[in-house]
């Protein structure tokens, strides 16, 4: 028989080990010791054409300041995990490019401490609430804006004899569906309209139907049951009739899935996506295509999104990091990035003066026109700290409707409940 002493020793060791790994709280990092060297780390994910423009701007910054910037490119998919792990290890990068700052709000550096003059009040109004901390801190800078909107297969529209939509006079939902179906029939494509499997993309439709997940402050659930149910019902009908590819939404599970392959394979003449596809399609599409205005219902315009640049309290180069963020988001830098990567600017001065794009300028102007038509409430909703979780929940609920497991009204109720929970979790 084994000695009870051995069991006792093993048990004691386990208890000691257990006690030693009790989770603790992190410090707020506000007193992080600052380093004298001029070395920055920039955690970055790339959309493709922005990488070279970013490298060029980094070169300019290095020449100007004598600093050395280590650009660390990571896949977008595990950006949040990596960043969380680095923060846990007290090894945060000096600067990061993010799509959602909500999970990191407590860790972000107040950029106002160093660059209030250069950054304060310079950016798109809608994002203010999102990037401002409880005490008025500037937690991040909106570095590029995305705008959801349709892309159409011009060749297929021409073959069907259907006139192209006028970017200055947006079509409405009924017109878009009717035209798309005509083009589908003439070209024998599998579908007429495809939408990415994304709650963010569905939010565009919701906004056009006159409602949003949250109000313009982003802090209150504001989804109108009637309007939202009408949107979900229309979405379900379009999928059930084969106008939209139902399988795409059902087969994706809980993963994000773009419908760009369907559009590039010319199996749908209308693709509901956004401006970030422009540079990829400029290179990859083997047919003539164009950006089209967002369809109107109760309101017009698209739905915003974007990326942010932020620094961290853990950074040992806070002043230099803030300077780098200010440089990368100066009027000149942002214009260069926008032009070369087909991004939309976030600076008020650039939005009002406009950007002349060397490639696909007309398409980019179509998106810029929709930026102006997009209601303020859509910005509030898009930049709500609870938007991401609610958008994910909406994908699950819409899939249930498509599978016949719930009704549009039940889906709307479930999304409302998810929005409320997400807001509570975000507080």
């Amino acid at each position: 028989m084994r000695s009870p002493r051995i069991s006792l020793t093993v048990a004691s060791a386990a208890i000691v080990l257990l006690a030693s790994c009790a989770p603790g709280s992190s410090s707020d990092g506000s007193k992080t010791k600052q380093a004298d060297d001029k070395k920055l780390t920039y955690l970055y994910f790339t959309d493709g054409p922005d990488e070279q423009a970013t490298r060029d701007l980094i070169d300019q910054f290095e020449k100007k300041t004598g600093a050395k910037v280590n650009l660390q490119i990571v896949p977008f998919d595990n950006l949040e995990q990596r960043l969380q792990a680095r923060l846990s290890g007290n090894n945060a990068p000096d600067v990061a490019r993010l799509t959602d700052i909500t999970p990191f709000r407590a860790d972000l550096l107040d950029l106002n401490k160093f660059q209030k003059g250069a950054l304060g009040g310079k950016f798109l109004k809608g994002a203010d609430a999102y990037v401002t901390g409880k005490g008025g801190e500037l937690l991040a800078v909106p570095s590029d804006l995305t705008m959801n909107g349709p892309l159409i297969n011009v060749d297929q529209f021409k073959k069907a004899g259907v006139p192209l939509p006028d970017p200055k006079k947006p079509w409405n939902w009924d017109e878009m569906v009717k035209d798309a179906k005509k083009v589908q029939a003439a070209n024998k494509t599998q579908n007429a309209i495809a939408m990415d499997v994304s709650g963010h993309r569905f939010s565009t439709m919701l906004s056009q139907y006159g409602t949003d997940f949250f109000d313009k402050t982003g802090k209150k659930p504001a989804m109108d049951t009637g309007k939202a149910t009408a949107a979900v019902k229309r979405f379900a009908e379009l999928n059930a009739s084969g106008t939209m590819p139902k399988d795409l939404w059902l087969q994706a599970g809980t993963k994000y899935k773009a419908a760009n392959e369907i559009f590039l394979a010319q199996q749908t003449p209308v693709y509901l996506s956004g401006n970030w596809q422009v540079s990829a399609f400029a290179k990859g599409a083997k047919f003539s295509w164009a950006a089209a205005p967002n369809p109107c219902r109760k309101t017009c315009g698209g739905f915003p999104g974007g990326k942010f640049m932020a620094s961290f309290k853990q950074s040992k180069h806070q002043k230099l990091a803030a300077e780098f963020i200010a440089f990368m988001n100066s009027e000149k830098s942002q214009e260069k990035l926008a032009k070369e990567a087909n991004f939309l600017p976030t600076r008020k001065d650039l939005i009002s003066s406009g950007v002349k794009y060397p490639v696909r300028d007309a398409d980019m102007q179509t998106f810029l026109d929709d930026v102006k038509r997009t209601p303020q409430a859509a910005y509030g909703s898009a930049y709500s700290p609870a938007f991401g979780a609610t958008a994910d929940a909406s994908v699950k609920e819409l899939a249930k409707v498509l599978a016949g497991d719930s009704s549009p009204k039940e889906a709307v109720e479930a999304i409302r409940a998810a929005a409320q929970k997400a807001l509570k979790d975000a507080q």
Binding site: L17, C21, E80, L87, T102, Q251, K255, D392, A403, D425
Partner: protein, 321 residues
């Protein structure tokens, strides 16, 4: 077989058993062994134990600890006691994942065991190209599960998939393999079986080759048919191997994630979301809930551990009966 018969070989092959009167002297002899000889075995296993402790034991204990805290970022923890378990057990999503995991595991383990024994019996025959067939069945094991999921996803795609193109050409329609929950679960079980069965075939083959051929010679001389040989010799003597296959495939079934993630993403409508995906989504997808994910991992561990022990005890009892 009598117990005496079972004991006999032990007496003949084992070392002489010391009588009780000699025990003290044996102990004394052991105690006078040089210290380096006593310590050496532990030193040999130390590197492995350190790695095992650091990367398996410590995270496992820490996971249990984290399951009692609430954390949205892995840095700030609030003690909630059993709150995560309570919250999880009241979540419909958890029960859905648990139900799907049980369904998946039951079919996966049963099919894996039956098919691996069947294939191993075939591959144990003296047939032409035996090595080739063994390689063919083992090949999927070395393919990345992520790639396996993607490839089968293309094959089972409704409109443009390979399978439905063939079925459509034959006038058999185009079933929505990945858009119907029941069909998707069947697909996931099939792909899991295809991916892993080669590994279990190897284990069973090793077990088959360990069976003394004289048993079969004696049975043939007594006029036993092939079926009788299988039922009365092969399967009973394969029981320890079968138990290994069942336990390993059970653990494998409860851990299934990677190829399902790339094949169905847990869809449609959560129809193939198993426990590991539930844990993954809570731990790594926004909003991150480390405590809930850790609690689900503890529950999964307890379930696998309990099933393994029950299976082990059942087999022990069967053997001793």
């Amino acid at each position: 077989m009598t117990s005496t018969a079972r004991m006999a070989p032990r007496r003949t092959v084992g070392p002489a058993v010391p009588q009780s009167g000699h025990r003290k002297s044996v102990n004394r002899r052991r105690s006078v062994k040089p210290w380096n000889q006593r310590v050496a075995p532990y030193l040999f296993v130390l590197p492995n134990m350190l790695i095992f402790g650091l990367f398996v034991i410590y995270p496992a204990i820490n996971n249990f600890n984290i399951s009692m805290y609430d954390s949205g970022n892995g840095r700030d923890f609030t003690y909630v006691g059993g709150g995560n378990y309570q919250g999880m057990l009241s979540e419909a999503e958890f029960w859905s994942a648990a139900r799907h995991t049980v369904v998946f595991a039951v079919f996966f383990v049963t099919l894996t065991t039956v098919v691996s024994i069947g294939l191993a019996l075939l591959l144990n025959q003296r047939i032409k190209g035996r090595a080739f067939f063994r390689t063919v069945f083992f090949l999927p094991v070395v393919i990345s599960p992520v790639v396996v999921g993607l490839i089968w996803g293309w094959i089972f795609e409704r409109k443009n998939g390979l399978l439905n193109s063939l079925l459509g050409a034959a006038g058999l329609g185009q079933p929505g393999w990945l858009v119907n929950s029941t069909l998707a679960m069947a697909v996931v079980i099939f792909v899991g079986l295809w991916l892993h069965v080669g590994f279990y075939v190897l284990i069973v083959l090793a077990g088959l080759q360990g069976i003394d051929s004289t048993y079969y010679e004696a049975a043939r001389m007594d006029g036993a048919s092939g079926w009788q040989q299988l039922r009365l010799i092969t399967l009973p003597l394969l029981r320890p191997t079968t138990m290994v296959v069942v336990i390993l495939s059970l653990i494998n079934g409860f851990q299934a994630f990677d190829y399902i993630w790339t094949l169905t993403g847990g869809g449609p409508v959560g129809g193939t979301t198993l426990m590991v995906q539930y844990i993954y989504e809570h731990a790594f997808q926004s909003p991150v809930q480390y405590g809930s994910a850790a609690a689900a991992a503890v529950v999964l561990f307890c379930a696998v551990f309990a099933l393994t022990v029950i299976n082990y005890l059942y087999n022990q009892r069967k053997e001793s009966a």
